[in-house]
């Protein structure tokens, strides 16, 4: 082990490993009169594994995260490509607008969406004005609205990582493909897409991890009727003042996330090998 890695290890230990161990230790305690009691038992874990609804929510969270990751990735690829190649003259402006939107408080943006999507909101008002029936888009307070919010808030991560990795591709490679007889689309599929893979995977992993922890979108846009894991954990810690339960559920979410990332990684590796052997 090199000495230069020591600060990093210390940092990781301080801000990741130690809190994780503390969370794990917390999950073996109990609560009485809304106060933590050091019981050192498996009561909370027995509870976690015997309650179906925790797993319903965890499963829903996982599915939503996967769909969100897929949507963000699929949307980011053409957007990033368009920004770099088709709208390159405007790409600085677009980037600026995106950064501006990205840095705007997530709460504000989410509430903005509520006002936009509401039955009496901007979208329906506009549609009504051009002849659609009243309240024709009834998406607010549904899981679809949650997904819209998640994709909206997380899309910049994939756009930026994909664009970054596309921008690093030597332009001559695309020209070489075109020169060899490839249409724009074919050159994109044969050259740009495979070479942008590192960025695409990085963006997907980032979005996946972030979407496992979404809180605002299901609560505000989704109308709270389909809570996800973060809300479950919040409820355990805050409303029920049951910290050991919250700690246990946190660990469950971390394990699910880590397991999904392992599968992600394995698929990515397998993909890379397959491309190499094709």
């Amino acid at each position: 082990m090199r000495l230069s890695t020591l600060p990093l290890l210390l940092l990781m230990g301080l801000f990741f490993v130690i809190p994780l161990i503390m969370t794990a230790l917390l999950s073996f305690q109990g609560t009485q009169y809304y106060r933590l009691v050091w019981t050192w038992d498996l009561k909370v874990w027995t509870d976690v594994f015997s309650q179906v609804h925790y797993w319903t929510i965890m499963w829903r969270t996982l599915v939503m995260a996967l769909i969100c990751t897929l949507l963000c990735t699929v949307l980011a690829i053409p957007i990033a490509y368009g920004m770099l190649h088709r709208l390159s003259r405007w790409s600085d402006h677009i980037t600026l607008l995106m950064v501006f939107a990205f840095l705007t408080d997530a709460v504000l943006k989410t509430f903005g969406w509520v006002l936009f999507l509401d039955r009496s909101g901007v979208l329906n008002g506009t549609l009504e004005a051009i002849g659609f029936p009243a309240a024709s888009v009834n998406v607010l307070f549904t899981p679809n609205a949650t997904m819209i919010g998640m994709v909206y808030n997380l899309l910049p991560y994939t756009i930026f990582t994909v664009a970054l990795s596309m921008a690093r591709i030597d332009g001559d490679l695309v020209l070489a493909a075109r020169d060899a007889g490839a249409s724009r689309l074919r050159a994109f599929v044969e050259v740009t897409l495979p070479l942008a893979k590192p960025g695409i995977w990085a963006g997907a992993v980032l979005v996946f991890v972030l979407s496992l922890g979404v809180f605002l979108e299901p609560k505000v846009m989704g109308g709270g009727t389909s809570p996800l894991a973060a809300e479950l954990i919040r409820q355990s810690f805050e409303t029920r003042v049951n910290w050991p339960l919250g700690a246990a559920l946190t660990l469950v979410l971390i394990v699910i996330g880590a397991a999904a990332l392992t599968v992600f990684g394995a698929v990515a590796l397998w993909q890379a090998r397959r491309v190499a052997n094709d």
């Binding site: 009169y33 809304y34 106060r35 933590l36 309650q51 179906v52 609804h53 925790y54 319903t56 929510i57 829903r60 408080d105 997530a106 709460v107 504000l108 989410t110 509430f111 509520v114 509401d118 039955r119 009496s120 307070f141 899981p143 809180f215 605002l216 609560k219 505000v220 109308g223 709270g224 009727t225 389909s226 809570p227 479950l232 409820q235 810690f237 805050e238 409303t239 029920r240 003042v241 049951n242 910290w243």
Partner: protein, 377 residues
Amino acid sequence: MTKSKGIPMFSPNRRTFLQGMGAAGLAGAGLMPRSAQAATSMKFMCWEGYDSPDIIKPFEEANDVSISIDLITDSPGGFAKLAAGAWRDFDVVATDSPWVQRMGPAGIGEFLDDAEFADVYDSFYPQFRAPFEPLNFEGKTTGLPTRWGWVGPTVNTKYDKLESWRSYAPCFDPAYKDKICVLDWGDWPIMPMALYAGIDPYKELDDAELNEIRLVLRALFKNTRAIVGDLSVAQKGLMDGSFRTLIGGGTYCTSALRKDGQKEIMSIVPEPKDGLKQGIIWMEAGGIVKDPVDDAKAKALLRDLTSPEVAVKLAWTEATCNLVPSQKAEALFTDEQKDVLQMDYMWEAWDKSHFHNVAPNIDQMLEIWSQELAAAR
């Protein structure tokens, strides 16, 4: 109440936002800790409204004390913070009465001697005088009531007759499908539903009764459009008719709308059903956290908050308007204010209501809530 105090549009992230707002407000009002000047420095954990410079500044000057405020953004969260050890830092707390009461069993509160506060009790309406059971733990007083109101159907008479909400029945009526808003305020929406199911949630419940609560929540979720944590979103829906009532809410949600002139919006309590009262009285209270820096000054702050002059200020805030327990304060309200506060209706509401308290089976009820919610869609 577990509620956001009507900071428009910011509720779900209210923790950080309110902290920022709080700090900015404190700085602006010159309320940053002045321990260098004042003899004593106290830490006060409270809901928004109690921190008003109108209230705090005169107290500081009169008592040679500097108060630093820690705004609560949700009552259980505030309690959990105290219980986790922050009680050592705090002196006084003003929060929902069950959480003040819970400081007793948790061992993080100082009990009050009723005799010492006899003059305060004398200024209260008879209903709030000692011994005041809702704030008692094992016969000892945990705090003094500060603000109150009732929980019941919130009705916009533009869309519904008041008569339709003599009971919670519309919540389960297919005609109201997708028109019910349930407030995401912990135990608050569960209690009225339990009452509608014919169960007194403030008693020890058996499995059959808990199952009844499960069934009523399941039925409620079928008609629910949204579970909302943010007061302004709930109020907006109530105004435009997309939410026909707010379950778990009451005067706390409607008073500010009435203050703005929307008198067609009212809070009522349902008629008793099969001999069981259907309304709930909510209350906020002030309590002294264990081992305050200065016991006398902590008590002085409680006295201050319950005095008629301060009570009026506490009743009339930007985000919400609420009733106060002080009978002497009543004379200080204008007729318009009395109308906004629905004072002509308050004792009728009181008579038809239970007093909100720590439900013995609350954790099971919350668990049922999250189980049913998980299965709802």
